[in-house]
Each structure stands twice: as C-alpha cells, then as structure tokens.
Subunit: 219 residues, 2 copies
C-alpha cells in the first residue's frame, strides 16, 4: 500500500514527467532544477516539487534532480517494468493501429494475444502475431491469465465482452469502443478513451475564437 492515496491529477501527470525526463536524458542532460523543468513543461516549479514529494524526496537541495535517477523513480512508481499480460480484442482499423503504434513494453505491458470475432480476421497475422478467434478467449485466459484488455470492438459488444473478461480474471480495460464501461467493483480499472471528445474541444475552441467569423455571425 502506498503512503497516502495519490490524487488522480498527480497520477495523470506522471507519464508526462517520465516522457520529458526521457527526452532530457536522451539529450544528455544530467541534472535539472524544478524551475528549469517547469519552464520546459509549462508548469510551476511548486507543482513539480509537490507532485514528486507525494512519493518521496528525489532531489537534493542546492543541486536539483538527477535526470536519469528521477526518471527511473517515476518509471518504478508507474510500474513500467511490470510486464502486465495484455490482450487486444477487435482488429479493425483502430485495433490494428493500436497494436502497431503503441509501445507496450514502455508502458509496462506485454501484448500476448490478439482476438477478433470475424473468422476472416482470426487466423491472420498482424505485427507478427496470430489473431485468435474470440471463441478461444476463455481457454486462453485460463492458461495465460492476462490482467489487461484493450477493447477495440463495436460499442454494442463492449459491455458484454468486458463482463466476460472480468469473470476470466481481467482487472483493467483500455476501452476504445464508444461505450462507457463502468464496474461497481472498483478493483476493476477502466480507461474509457473517447478520441472524438478530444477533437470536439478543438471544434469548440475554433467556434469561440474571436478570430472566427462563423461564430461571430451566429451571435
């Protein structure tokens, strides 16, 4: 159990810290102060120090933070060395893109199985992995015990599938179907990804931008 409950806002910033520190390390930067890091990330130095001190004192007064050491600490906190067994269900356009585009090992995940309910897709090879038919999920899970499932299935199939997977022992869902998964049992973790929501904030921004004539003429 961690010291205290860490707030979601802090947790959501951790991957970003990890990313920036990785870039700094790649550039050969050895040390960095919270002030300089805040400048580069567009945060305040206070916030960075507060965030990090949720987990421990990783810096040194008068010196700052060692880039590599801090990155490693954050990686540990995130659990990126955990090799969580992960399966992906639904190999349409999006599923295939996720399978090939996301760096799973950098996220602490091992992608060990691909599944699709379409018999013309099952059997094919994608990214050097064979796609299994969803009918074989039960047996696969009994044997491999995956912890995390990525859902790239149609909206109407997601809830039923997820329930089944929970009964097979899956404890976390990265859900790209347009549904809103939710489990009473909050031992089951869910990230509902709605890409369109992110695009719509741009649509909103464009409409409410003072530069914009369309919006102006509408009011």
């Amino acid at each position: 159990m961690s010291k205290q409950e860490i707030s979601p806002s802090v947790i959501r910033r951790l991957p970003r810290y990890h990313r920036f520190l990785g870039e700094l390390a790649a550039q050969g930067t050895i040390r960095i102060s919270s002030k300089e890091l805040s400048r580069q990330m567009g945060l305040t130095a206070s916030q960075i120090r507060q965030d990090l001190n949720c987990f421990g004192g990783f810096g040194q007064q008068g010196y700052g933070y060692n880039v590599c050491a801090l990155r490693d600490e954050i990686g540990q906190i995130l659990g990126i060395h955990a090799h969580r067994k992960t399966i992906l269900i639904g190999l349409g356009n999006l599923g295939r893109a996720i399978a090939s585009h996301v760096n799973f090992s950098q996220c602490g995940c091992d992608l060990i199985g691909l599944f699709d309910s379409n018999p013309f897709v099952a059997g094919r090879d994608i990214e050097g992995m064979q796609v299994h038919h969803t009918d074989t999920l039960s047996g696969f899970c009994r044997q491999e015990s995956p912890e995390l499932a990525i859902l790239c299935v149609p909206e109407n199939a997601a809830a039923e599938l997820a329930n089944k997977l929970v009964s097979f022992g899956v404890r976390a869902f990265w859900n790209f179907s347009h549904s809103n998964l939710h489990f009473e049992d909050d031992a089951v973790l869910v990230e509902n990804v709605h890409l369109a929501d992110s695009l719509m904030t741009l649509t909103y921004g464009l409409s409410h931008d003072s530069m914009d004539e369309t919006a102006d003429s509408l009011r």
Copy 2:
C-alpha cells in the same frame, strides 16, 4: 464573444453530455432531470446544473430538461455544425485508423485532404480519398484554407510541419505525433494526444492495487 470565459473543465465535459444525451434520445427519452442524468453519468446533479448554466438556462423548473433540445443546444455550443475544413497528414497505421474510425462530421469537421510524404503512399486511395504528397500542401492550403490539421507523423517531423501549416493559415492541431506542440500565439489551438499516457494510468493502477502481489512484494 461568449458571456464569460468558460473553464476548460466544463468544456471537456460538454462532448460527454452530448454523447449521453444522444443515447437517451436514441432510446426515446423525452425529458430528463439533472438528478437522473447525474445518476447515469456518475456526476452530481449540482455539477450538471452549474455546467449548463454557464451557457444559459436550458431547463424548466419542475420538469427538467428536454433531451433533444438540450442536446441541440450543447451541439451548437460545441460548434458541431461548423464544417471546419480539416486535413490529415501521415497515413501510417494510426493515420489510416483515425481517418476511418473518427466520425468527423459529428465533430463539426469536414475531412477534405489526406497527405503523406512517402511517395508510395501518396497517390493511393484511403477511405475513398486520394492521398496527396506533402509537397502539395502549400498549394492545397492556398486553395482550400483548411483550419484544422491532424498530425499523425513521426515525432521529429511534427514541429516543423506544424509551423509551416500555421504559416498556411491552419489554426488548430490534433496532434498524435509523440511530440508536445506548443505555440506562443495562443490563437493557435493544440490538442496533444498521448495515448500511452492513458495506458500508463492503468499500469499505475494495477501496480498500486492492493490485490496485486508484484507491487506488494516490491515494498
């Protein structure tokens, strides 16, 4: 210009309201109270009423909200009827998935051009649209004046490309390259999407779950 500046937290909830109201409408629900909607969405009724009242009084005391009318209002606020001219650059796995998977018109966007720098990709047809070579971007933008660009290019290509596009008049970026775009000029809108960040919050959750033995044994 809108009444007051709306907070980003409210704006980010709008697409979600829109989505839920759409589902309710599809189910034939005519009216809904903030209380019932809050139950279904996992929010508080207070928050819903506060959020909506940023934009106007869309309800009726003693009755609640008309589902369709409210949905239309939120759609207007988001600007989903704007037909923003949109281009997508980079038709690798992810670019192709975005092009085919996202419902652009529902987001107020018209996807009018696909571009790739690879001459073997340029010329091909994707989703019934011809892919142009990135060399033709300048001319295309002069002619069509797209407002929004979706970047599915490699990290190292994103910043330079984005700068060029701004000079061509593009005012908003949906950025899937692993870079962090940022413009001093805050008339340029940016949504940096880092899919892996979302996955990592699950990794974190699995590691800090009390059920988890790996994490326990590490402390």
